[in-house]
Symmetry: C2
Subunit: 234 residues, 2 copies
DNA sequence: AGCGCCTGTCTACGCTGTAGACTGTACCCG
DNA sequence: CGGGTACAGTCTACAGCGTAGACAGGCGCT
C-alpha cells in the first residue's frame, strides 16, 4: 500500500517541487477552505512528511503567499487593445472570474498585503500593478496620474469583489429567499429595509454591477484628468 | 500580588462583562495585532482563567466578531443632512478614520463577512448597511436603486481603505523612500514603473484620494439613476 | 436556612507550526 | 572506480493553541 510507485493521489514518490506543492495547496484551499491548509494536512495530501514542505516554503505564511501568487498568475494577459478603458474593463472581469473560481483565496489576496510592505510582496502579486501602470503609461498618462487611476480602479475592483462574495447565498437548497440568506433572523423592527430587499439581494448580477460601476468610474476619471491637464496648461 | 483588590491592569477582581472583555480584546489587537489575541493571552490580560472568556463569547470566532462590532459601533451617526451625497461623503471619511485608528481590525471587517451569511452576521456590522439604506430611501431612491448605490459606494469605500492601508509605510524611522517601501528589492528590469513611482507613493493623501473618488462615483451614480428614471417614465 | 443559579477555575485532549538532528540517495570530481 | 558533498525527506520534540467537561464558590431568592 505504501510501496514505491504505489498510486496515491500523486505519482507517489516523484520528487516534490515548489509547483506541485503549491498546486496541491491551492487545490486543498479551494476544496476545504483556508483552515484546512495545515502543514500536516498538506504533507499527508502529498504523501510526504510535513517537514518536507519547508524545503519549498519558509513557513506557513510564505506558503499562503505562494498560493496567492499562483492564483494571480492565472490572470490572462490581454493582447494590445488601443483603448485603455476597454483593457481595464477586461482585466476587471478576468479578476472577478478568478475570484469566483477561488473564493477561499480572496481573503489572502486582500489580507496578506496589509501585513507586507509593498516591496516585500511576492513578485507575482505585484505584476498586475506594474502591468496596469505600463498600460496607462502607453495610453499617455503621466506617472502620477496613472497611479491615481490605478488606485481608484483597483480599489473599486477589490471592493466589488468583496461585496459580491459577501452577499452570496447561504443555502441554495432553501427556496424561500428570506431563509436562503438567513435574513429571517434579523429583528424586523431594526432592519426593515434590509429584510425588504431580500428578493433584490438574491438576484445579484455581479458582472453587470461591476461593469456599470466601471463605466462610471472610468469616464469620471477620464474627465477629471483631462480637466486637470487642461487646467495646468493654462 | 494576587490578593483581592490588588491593582492589576484592570480593577483585578470585579466581575467581568462582555464589554470589558471586548474592550481588552480590541486594545490587545490594536497594540499587537490579531495574532496576539489568543484566549490564553486575553485571559492573562484580564487576570482571569482563559476559560472564563467562554461565558462572554461562544468561541474565538465570536470574539473576533465582537471586536468588529465594537469598532463599527464607534461610527458616529450623523445628524440629518438634506444632501444624501454629503452624508455618504461624511460616513466614508468617518469609516476611513476608524480604519486608520484600528488598522489591525480591518482584516476582520473585510474577511469575516466572507464566511458568514448576511443574516447571521453580528447585528452591529449590519447596522451601517441599514442606516445607509434608510438614508437613500429618504432621499427618494427606490429600494432596488438604493441597493445599487449602496453596493457601488461600499465597494469603493472598502476598496479604498484596503488600498490605503496596503500602501502604508513600513518603518517610519527609515527615511529613504525606496527603502521604506522595500522597493529596492524589486528587479529594476521587471518593475521599472513601480520603482519610479516611489516618491509619489510616499506622498499618498488618502483623504483627498477618497474624496475625489467619491465625487466621481456619486455624481456618476446620480446621473445614471436619473437617466434610468427618465427612461422608464417615457 | 436552604436551594439553585451563575461566574470562574481546573484539567485534559488533540491539534497546530516549526527547530534541529538525522538518514539516505544522487551526483560530481579526482 | 572511490570518496565526498549537497540536498531531499524524515523523525522527534516542544511550546502554544482552542475548547470540552467536570467542578468550586458565592450571591440572591424564597
Amino acid at each position: 500500500m505504501d510501496s514505491p510507485r504505489a498510486s496515491g493521489r500523486t505519482p507517489a514518490k516523484a520528487r516534490l517541487s515548489r509547483e506541485t506543492v503549491l498546486a496541491k495547496a491551492l487545490e486543498l484551499v479551494d476544496a476545504e477552505g483556508l483552515d484546512a491548509l495545515t502543514m500536516r494536512r498538506l504533507g499527508q495530501e502529498l504523501g510526504r512528511d510535513p517537514m518536507s514542505l519547508y524545503r519549498y516554503a519558509d513557513n506557513r505564511a510564505a506558503l499562503l503567499d505562494g498560493v496567492s501568487e499562483l492564483v494571480l498568475d492565472q490572470l490572462p494577459i490581454h493582447p494590445e487593445d488601443p483603448d485603455w478603458k476597454a483593457q481595464l474593463r477586461n482585466i476587471a472581469h478576468d479578476l472577478r472570474m478568478l475570484a469566483l473560481e477561488h473564493p477561499n483565496v480572496v481573503p489572502l489576496l486582500v489580507t496578506r498585503p496589509l501585513s507586507t510592505p509593498l516591496g516585500l510582496r511576492p513578485l507575482g502579486t505585484l505584476r498586475p500593478l506594474e502591468q496596469i501602470l505600463t498600460l496607462l503609461a502607453s495610453a499617455g498618462f503621466e506617472p502620477a496620474d496613472a497611479l491615481h487611476v490605478y488606485r481608484a480602479y483597483y480599489g473599486f475592483l477589490y471592493g466589488h469583489i468583496l461585496n459580491e462574495l459577501q452577499e452570496y447565498v447561504v443555502d441554495p437548497e432553501e427556496n424561500e429567499v428570506l431563509l436562503r440568506l438567513g435574513l429571517h433572523r434579523l429583528p424586523a423592527k431594526e432592519f426593515p429595509r434590509l429584510r425588504a430587499l431580500a428578493p433584490a439581494l438574491s438576484e445579484y448580477d455581479g458582472a453587470r454591477e461591476l461593469d456599470q460601476g466601471l463605466t462610471i468610474l472610468l469616464s469620471g476619471l477620464e474627465a477629471q484628468l483631462s480637466r486637470q491637464v487642461a487646467g495646468s496648461r493654462a
